[in-house]
Symmetry: C2
Subunit: 206 residues, 2 copies
């Protein structure tokens, strides 16, 4: 298909498609004449992925570039590629100095070991969880992660992981991961606040 | 205690305390001399609440004012006061025009009815969930909320609701709600991403 058709089918404007081509986010089409290139389904799929990362994941273009490079590097095993997408979605957390941080980080590493979870030693999510624990401790909240661990484990292993097409095109797997992580995460967060409102009304007997 | 002691105990700087007094977020102390006011535990508790709303909930001052007004209006039942805090934490979502939105919103209202959840008809969380459903549908994601509903219900009714001191000071109940919603929400979100990494490594057999 020509660029105009690619634009119509993807809903991405032509100047934006040209920008993605210049930035290397979208592979060049097949040059079939001096002023004409031909695009196919793989370009459509890539545009879907970029939109998902940009609009739903709200990633900056630099982070999108990292993810795309992982998608294109076919020597990377699928789960490493997915890990890169996951890490791009995770906020960057600066480790803090002091004993409080050391303790929280050791607690996170211990938890992951005890669970037997396969998590990269450098995964930024370890620091993200450590930071959350430090804040909880500073604010005097009781720290009992067990129900959250069990809930997350169950949700992911019984439901969410099956929505990722591990054997399909690499673009599609990353897209499913990003959309699932962000949108089902948002849905769960709203449902949790709704459950809070209802349960507190019930307890107050109104 | 004097303002200097209130500042030391709360970790809030004196100019900031004066700002909260001017804005009406913090009640005036008892005037015991022309240039001296006396503060007590209720002021400390209020400062804790303001910090929780500001630093953990990341609410703008205008929203904090609404929550504080609800805390101070003792004619409001506790669960209405907590609802106001909850709504302040929820992003504002503009209803969209078109049939897609109508359908999603009807689906949300139907879900809440079916569950028998006690949710205010004007709760902004209804629109927030409708928006999430519209995005899922536009992106072609399967919409099956059941496992999320069940998970949220269980987590809230069996664990989280018991961390809210309904019978204690009103400030303390709101503080517990805000801290719990934001920090346990964040903890769950990280754990879910960790579970994804581990489960996808397991499935890929590495």
């Amino acid at each position: 298909m020509r660029m105009s058709e690619l634009s119509a089918k993807s809903g991405v404007a032509i100047p934006t498609i040209k920008y993605y081509l210049r930035e290397g986010l979208l592979p060049q089409g097949a040059q079939i004449a001096a002023t004409r290139a031909e695009y196919d389904e793989s370009h459509l799929r890539r545009l879907r992925l970029i939109r998902a990362l940009l609009e739903v994941g709200r990633l900056p273009v630099a982070a999108i570039k990292q993810v795309i490079e992982a998608v294109e590097d076919e020597t990377l095993p699928t789960h490493i590629m997915l890990g890169i997408a996951h890490y791009a979605l995770s906020p960057k957390v600066e480790p803090e100095s002091g004993e409080e941080w050391q303790l929280a980080r050791a607690q996170v590493d211990g938890l992951i070991d005890d669970l037997g979870w396969q998590i990269h030693p450098e995964a930024p999510t370890r620091d993200e969880l450590a930071q959350t624990l430090v804040r909880m401790r500073q604010l005097g909240l009781p720290i009992n992660l067990s129900p959250y661990v069990e809930t997350a484990r169950k949700l992911v292993s019984e439901i969410e992981i099956d929505t990722i097409p591990f054997d399909g095109p690499r673009d599609a797997a990353v897209e499913a991961l990003v959309l699932g992580t962000v949108l089902y995460g948002r849905a769960f967060d709203v449902l949790r606040r709704l459950a809070h409102e209802s349960e507190s009304a019930r307890r107050m007997g109104s």
